[in-house]
């Protein structure tokens, strides 16, 4: 359980800082865990010893000059670096008293910020997006600085992350309401641009923070609507080309904080460890709408672990160094120590991620829900964007899926499938399929069955990734693809399942036989129909004999059974015949094996016509008889529907169409002669017998106060 301890005041904010919107400009880590450098919003830099709550030194620039970014401590040279008036780099040591007498250098372009990480050379980020190491920049201060960003693109936030002794400069920009994330790797320099997903009504992230773990950079950003998202970017495996290609940045909603009245204005979220997030400026969930709270949330369990009310105005600023949170509020800057122990519960529930190498992959391959749900809007309607993203996966940029011939597409897909690693496979496959499907929908002549089948075979797909695929396959009568989809997609909606069923049941047998289907399922059905494999298996010491008609009569015992007796004898031959063709049966088997929930399936089942229902019922009955006669059918190891699935479908069908079936002449035989149920009942009858025996045994146990019994010992 994370906990916030009693905090203390580091210093008071001066009046100008309070009135300004900014609070303080920044706090940076100094030599050890007990020293920080604080830059106020105007002119001065102060070094504090945190535990003593006292300043050790203070430096101020001249009146009229301003410090435009927080001063940092250069861990290598033990100097302080600050930028005044955007262009002047100032460097001084702790012993220097007057700032004016120290080193200054003027550069040719506006600097956004200078940043420093332990054991690393400070890095300078220019307002136009260029990045320089400080020592290289100072070697030629007037060197020309390239423009990376567009004219109207502005940096909003940045940080430096040290990953595997390599520095990454991360910054976010805003351009025309869109937000981008840049990941600049230093030595060798590569730049990657990502676009953040749009949050509702064009909200801009209020605060960001980044952390590095397990070869991934983990970004956390908070929106004014209280949504806290996490995005994971791999630090490895991106191509060498640093184009202006924009990759979508998948995100995961970590927390949805309640914001009270109106959107958040000054709030900030900071990741404390992989399970804990500190949030300031967001109302406490059970303390009204006041936003002056510092809370620690556990993101694994979505629980509030600790909270503290911070008096006074909240600036939406929050820093964290060495288990201490620094938060300016009201007229003071408070230091609040905290702990986030790894909870035993988390490890017990498996919520605590173990540092496994496979684990690090998984975030990257999880498709964003947003893109899935709004996928059709994004992908088919905006082909350019699709193309752009596709380029990322293919090493040699493919001209266009929109114009290439089926063979080219096939080749391209094969190439991608062999090249791409498992991490990207899912994404690339879904993008390919979406593109192919949207093209096929547009061009009626274009259809690439083998390519699609190949893609589905990768098993990286699900129905929700491309909802049109299965319907397209049905429309193009590509039953092989249908079969694959039914086999591999875990999430086919009941409506689509029903549509497949309808198509399969009503398709003429002659059509069906032309289709080439998966050989395993066909061979299973072949053996079932021919009935060659029948072995003398005995189940539970009982080998089912052909139907015992007399037994049936005894059980039903009313007029109906007697009337249908002759019919039963007719329709109950010793070897049932399959009412549908081989391939049709194979396809129907696939439908039987899909997952469904009966509440959703029932309304769609009602759409079937009575002929279809009867045929399907006949087929189910055939399957049932086969299965119950030849019990070990499932021992083939082949994919086959289970007996339970068959019975469930029979029940569902009868539920959906009972009234219609009662009225239909042909159905009477089926209804009155449900061999399946007869057998069930007769099995139940047997159980009844044993249950009665048990009852009798119990009765015998009754012993009085005294009895004389005879026992025999051997």
């Amino acid at each position: 359980m994370a906990a916030l301890y009693e905090g203390y005041t580091l210093f008071g904010l001066v009046q100008s800082q309070i009135s300004s919107h900014l609070g303080i400009r920044g706090i940076e880590q100094e030599r050890d865990d007990d020293h920080v450098v604080v830059t106020d919003s105007t002119r001065s830099v102060t070094l504090y010893k945190v535990s003593d709550q006292k300043p050790l030194g203070s430096w101020t620039v001249k009146q009229g000059q301003t410090l435009t970014c927080p001063a940092v401590y250069n861990f290598q040279s033990k100097e302080y670096v600050a930028i005044s008036d955007k262009r002047v780099i100032r460097i001084w040591k702790e012993g220097d008293v007057l700032l004016d007498k120290t080193f200054k250098a003027t550069v040719s372009s506006d600097i956004w910020r200078v940043q420093s990480a332990p054991e690393q050379e400070p890095v300078v980020l220019f307002e136009r997006g260029a990045v320089r190491m400080l020592d290289l920049l100072l070697s030629d201060p007037q060197q020309s600085i390239e423009e990376v960003l567009d004219q109207d693109e502005l940096i909003r936030w940045n940080t430096v992350i040290l990953a595997e002794s390599r520095q990454f400069v991360i910054f976010t920009t805003e351009q025309k309401g869109k937000h981008f994330l840049y990941l600049q790797r230093l030595n060798p320099n590569t730049l990657q641009r990502y676009q953040l997903e749009r949050e509702e009504s064009g909200l801009a992230p209020l605060s960001c923070c980044a952390s590095y773990r397990e070869q991934n950079i983990c970004l956390l950003y908070l929106y004014p609507n209280g949504h806290l998202y996490q995005s994971v970017v791999s630090t490895r495996g991106w191509g060498t080309e640093d184009g202006r290609q924009v990759l979508p940045l998948p995100r995961r909603l970590l927390l949805s904080l309640s914001v009270g009245e109106g959107p958040l204005e000054a709030a900030s979220a900071l990741e404390l460890d992989e399970a804990h997030v500190a949030v300031v400026g967001v109302p406490h969930p059970s303390a009204g709408t006041g936003k002056d709270f510092l809370c620690i949330w556990n993101t694994n369990f979505q629980t509030l672990q600790a909270a503290k009310e911070m008096g006074g105005k909240i600036y939406g600023q929050l820093w964290c160094f060495f288990n201490k949170l620094f938060i300016p509020h009201g007229k003071t800057l408070s230091v609040i120590p905290f702990v986030c122990p790894k909870s035993s519960l988390a490890s017990a529930l498996g919520k605590l991620k173990q540092a496994k190498s496979e684990e690090s992959k998984s975030p990257a391959s999880v498709p964003s829900w947003n893109s899935i749900l709004h996928g059709e809007k994004v992908q088919p309607s905006r082909p350019q964007e699709t193309k752009k993203t596709l380029g990322y996966f293919s090493v040699t940029p493919f001209p266009s899926l929109q114009t290439a011939s089926a063979e080219d597409v096939q080749r391209e897909v094969e190439g991608v499938l062999t090249r791409s690693d498992a991490q990207n496979l899912q994404q690339s496959v879904s993008l390919f399929v979406s593109a192919l499907v949207s093209r096929s929908l547009e061009e009626s002549s274009f259809y690439t069955p083998s390519t699609l089948a190949r893609l589905v075979h990768t098993q990286c797909m699900s129905h929700s990734v491309c909802p049109e695929l299965l319907l397209l396959a049905l429309e193009r009568k590509d039953y092989f693809l249908c079969q694959l989809c039914l086999q591999f997609f875990p999430d086919i909606p009941e409506a689509v399942t029903c549509a497949c069923l309808k198509a399969f049941v009503s398709m003429p047998d002659t059509d069906a036989e032309k289709v080439s289907l998966e050989p395993d399922s066909v061979s299973f059905m072949e053996t079932l129909i021919s009935g060659k494999h029948v072995g003398n298996y005995v189940q539970n010491g009982f080998s089912p004999s052909p139907l015992d008609v007399e037994h049936t009569d005894a059980l039903s015992g009313d007029g109906v059974a007697i009337q249908t007796k002759t019919k039963e004898e007719e329709t109950a031959p010793s070897e049932p015949t399959c009412p549908v063709g081989l391939h049709k049966a194979v396809l129907l088997n696939e439908v039987l094996q899909t997952a469904y929930s009966d509440t959703f399936l029932l309304p769609h089942l009602k759409d079937l016509s009575s002929e279809q229902v009867i045929l399907f019922l006949q087929y189910l009955q055939f399957l049932y008889l086969k299965f119950s006669q030849d019990a070990p059918t499932q021992m083939h190891g082949l994919r086959s529907p289970s007996l339970a699935q068959i019975v469930d479908w029979v029940c569902l069908l009868l539920d959906a169409h009972f009234t219609v079936l009662v009225m239909t002449q042909e159905a009477k035989g089926l209804m009155l002669n449900p061999l399946a149920f007869v057998r069930l009942v007769s099995e139940l009858g047997k159980i009844e017998g044993s249950l009665q025996e048990i009852n009798k045994m119990k009765v015998k146990k009754e012993i009085g106060q005294y009895s004389i019994e005879v026992i025999e010992l051997f």
């Binding site: 035993s344 019994e709 010992l713 051997f714």
Partner: protein
């Protein structure tokens, strides 16, 4: 082996008393169990939980609390006295009045120098422990409510006492209360009722743990008197608490019959700081758990449902061993039923009376498994009440049914029973020898001419019986001079030999012709639980608490060949795994090779002529033999004929007419006699 007619008797309405208190002596591994009828039982936990001794109760004296002080056992109860028991003579040694009203709790400090008693009038009285007695030293500051629980700090300088609504911590030196820990009342309607601190523990780090009537287990800092943690354990009462030796685990017994364990663990991984965390819950009782002991490996609990449950902690014992199995001790380990073989009579011993029954008769023959029609119903002949307050500790019925004797701790009564057709007459033998004033074992010779009574220091008094007279002939004394009481007596069929066993595991054989000690059986480490003489060869057959069997030839003064063979081969593992001792052995006079014995869950007829089972053979083979054809059976049968048709057996004996008697006491019958347990909401009722 053949068919047997079995008298299945279920009319012995024996009702064990609820367990009120437990005390465990770690040095000797003896568990003292106080029952609500005042009896105190001593179990030897190192010897298969065998019940070695029973100190009979008394109407006016019921121990509320028990306490071991080295090897001395103290008890106190609502009569306001602290009693020390004489564990050699199985009766109270001395009593001290506390003058504080009923005593609810006593406890001695770890040093063994002081005994504290919590009294009804709100005082904690400190007694000094002396060699032969205890003496009142002082009273601590008097409190408003009664003192219901107390616990010494291991240093002996402080003492925590639970009263109504609060816990007080006393400085023993000054006698002043240093802290007052207020205990919250229950919520809702219970708010008006004062909360009773039923149990309190004072740990060496000065943590105080309390259990109260509001269902809470609370952890306090005894140094500052502040509450650290509250665990709401039950809706009802937390009646008992116990702590392990290393103070890392505490158990709490509740009115719901559950035992809840708390362990002192770090709350988060890899941290040093520990707290008391609720870990396990055991539910082994249907009623209140009134008394608890935390041994090193197990939780021992007892309560209203009269069962003593030993529940091993599976993290402390090796799994799947005999040690890891749970034990429920339901019945006393000594017979309460005596059977007159020749007369077909049963004598039932209750704490306050005896019942003499005549078995019924059947007519006709039946097939195995059938019940025969009862021609004559069993008949209760005599209902004999004890005189005075003391409970009956032993009784005996001669095999002819003509003599009946019972003893309390202060008197022995001998009766002549005459049964003629429909009249029963009972004549008390008026003048008994003075030496026959009490006996913890009684036994008649086979021809009913002699009475043997176990006296002090393992001695046996021999009396001769004539028509209306009882004369003391001799007193037999063992060579060892053991001070322990005898718990088994048996005499050979021909009246030549007498064997006596005491709780030091010594078995002494006396020659009754010469009235001299004949020999002693080599001492075996486990206590004998039953013994009997072979009717022909006068070999002494003994069973032990560890389930071993041995046969000792009295003439040759050595173990017999059969016994050696049995030891060489070893008993069957399943036989050794049984968890109740054999409490009675008898022989079949018509076929002396047949030994009849029983424990609570089975009876067994051992045929000494048959081969012994080895480890791989099926021990319980009756079902298998039944399914085999006659010719095959002989090949598969072994010496142990075990029958499990009868359960909860209190007596198993053979009558002269070769019919068996089995006295059962089904647990359901006992349960139905118990008071209703606390109401628990189950499902939607």
């Amino acid at each position: 082996m053949g068919e047997f007619k079995v008298h299945r008797v279920r009319f012995f309405e024996y009702l064990p008393s609820a367990i009120r208190a437990l005390a465990f002596n770690k040095d000797s591994e003896r568990m003292a169990v106080a029952r609500t009828d005042g009896a105190v039982e001593i179990f030897n936990f190192s010897d298969n939980y065998f019940q070695e001794k029973v100190i009979p109760g008394k109407d006016s004296r019921a121990a509320e609390t028990l306490c071991w002080l080295h090897h001395r056992l103290f008890a106190a109860g609502l009569n306001g006295e602290i009693t020390e028991y004489d564990l050699e003579n199985l009766k109270p040694r001395s009593s001290v009045e506390t003058f504080g009203g009923p005593v609810w709790t006593i406890g001695c400090n770890r040093q063994g120098t002081m005994l504290a008693a919590g009294c009804e009038n709100g005082t904690v009285k400190i007694f000094e422990v002396q060699e032969e007695k205890i003496q009142l030293q002082r009273s601590l500051e008097r409190q408003k409510g009664r003192i219901l629980s107390l616990s010494w700090h291991p240093s002996g300088a402080q003492l925590a006492a639970g009263t109504m609504d609060m816990i007080r911590i006393f400085d023993v030196q000054t006698g002043c209360a240093t802290h007052r820990l207020l205990v919250d009342r229950g919520v809702g309607t219970c708010r008006n009722r004062e909360v009773v601190v039923w149990s309190v523990l004072f740990l060496s780090d000065r943590t105080v743990i309390s259990g109260d009537s509001a269902g809470k287990v609370q952890i306090w800092d005894g140094a500052t008197g502040t509450l650290i943690r509250t665990h709401l354990v039950t809706k009802w009462d937390v009646l008992a608490l116990a702590v392990s030796q290393d103070e890392s685990s505490v158990i709490a017994g509740t009115s719901e019959g559950t035992v809840v364990q708390f362990q002192f663990l770090p709350s988060t991984m890899g941290q040093q700081e520990k707290e008391w965390v609720r870990t396990r819950t055991f539910k082994n009782h249907s009623h209140d758990v009134r008394a608890l002991i935390h041994t090193d490996t197990a939780v021992v609990s007892g309560g209203m449902d009269t069962q003593l449950v030993v529940r091993p902690l599976l993290d402390k014992v090796e799994k799947n061993t005999q040690e890891s199995s749970m034990r429920k001790i339901l019945f006393p380990h000594k017979p309460l039923v005596d059977c007159a073989h020749r007369a077909g009579l049963l004598l039932f011993q209750f704490t306050d009376h005896l019942e003499l029954w005549r078995l019924g008769e059947s007519e006709g023959q039946g097939k195995p498994g059938e019940s025969l029609p009862v021609k004559k119903k069993p008949e209760k002949l005599i209902h004999l009440k004890k005189k005075g307050d003391d409970h009956i500790c032993s009784s005996a019925l001669s095999s002819c049914g003509g003599w009946l004797v019972f003893s309390t701790i202060c008197s022995v009564r001998l009766y002549r029973v005459q049964l003629s057709n429909n009249t029963v007459s009972l004549t008390k033998v008026s003048k008994l020898p003075r030496i026959l004033c009490w006996a913890h074992q009684l036994c008649f010779s086979a021809d009913s001419s002699r009475l043997f009574a176990a006296g002090a220091r393992s001695s046996v008094h021999v009396f001769s019986l004539s028509q209306s007279e009882c004369k003391h002939i001799h007193t037999l004394r063992p060579k060892s001079g053991s001070r322990q009481p005898l718990h088994l007596l048996c005499v050979s069929q021909d009246g030549h030999w007498l064997a006596a066993a005491n709780t030091d595991c010594e078995v002494t054989v006396y020659d009754l012709k010469t009235m001299k000690l004949h020999c002693t059986v080599p001492v075996y480490s486990s206590c004998p639980t039953a013994m009997a003489f072979h009717p022909v060869y006068n070999n002494l057959l003994m069973t032990h608490a560890d389930q071993q069997l041995s046969e000792f030839s009295v003439q040759q003064r050595s173990y017999t060949e059969w016994s050696r063979a049995l030891h060489r081969r070893g008993l069957h593992p399943l036989w050794l795994k049984r968890d109740t001792p054999v409490t009675h052995i008898t022989f079949n006079p018509t076929n002396p090779a047949h030994i009849l014995l029983h424990d609570t869950y089975m009876f067994c007829i051992i045929d000494q002529t048959l081969p012994l089972p080895d480890e791989k053979s099926v021990l319980f083979n009756q079902m298998m033999l039944r399914s085999l054809p006659e010719s095959e059976r002989m090949r598969h049968s072994h010496a142990f004929k075990i029958c499990k048709n009868f359960q909860n057996i209190l007596c198993f004996d053979l009558l002269e007419d070769q019919s068996l008697v089995v006295v059962e006491r089904p647990l359901l019958d006992i349960m139905s006699q118990l008071p209703a347990p606390v109401r628990q909401k189950k499902f939607a009722t």
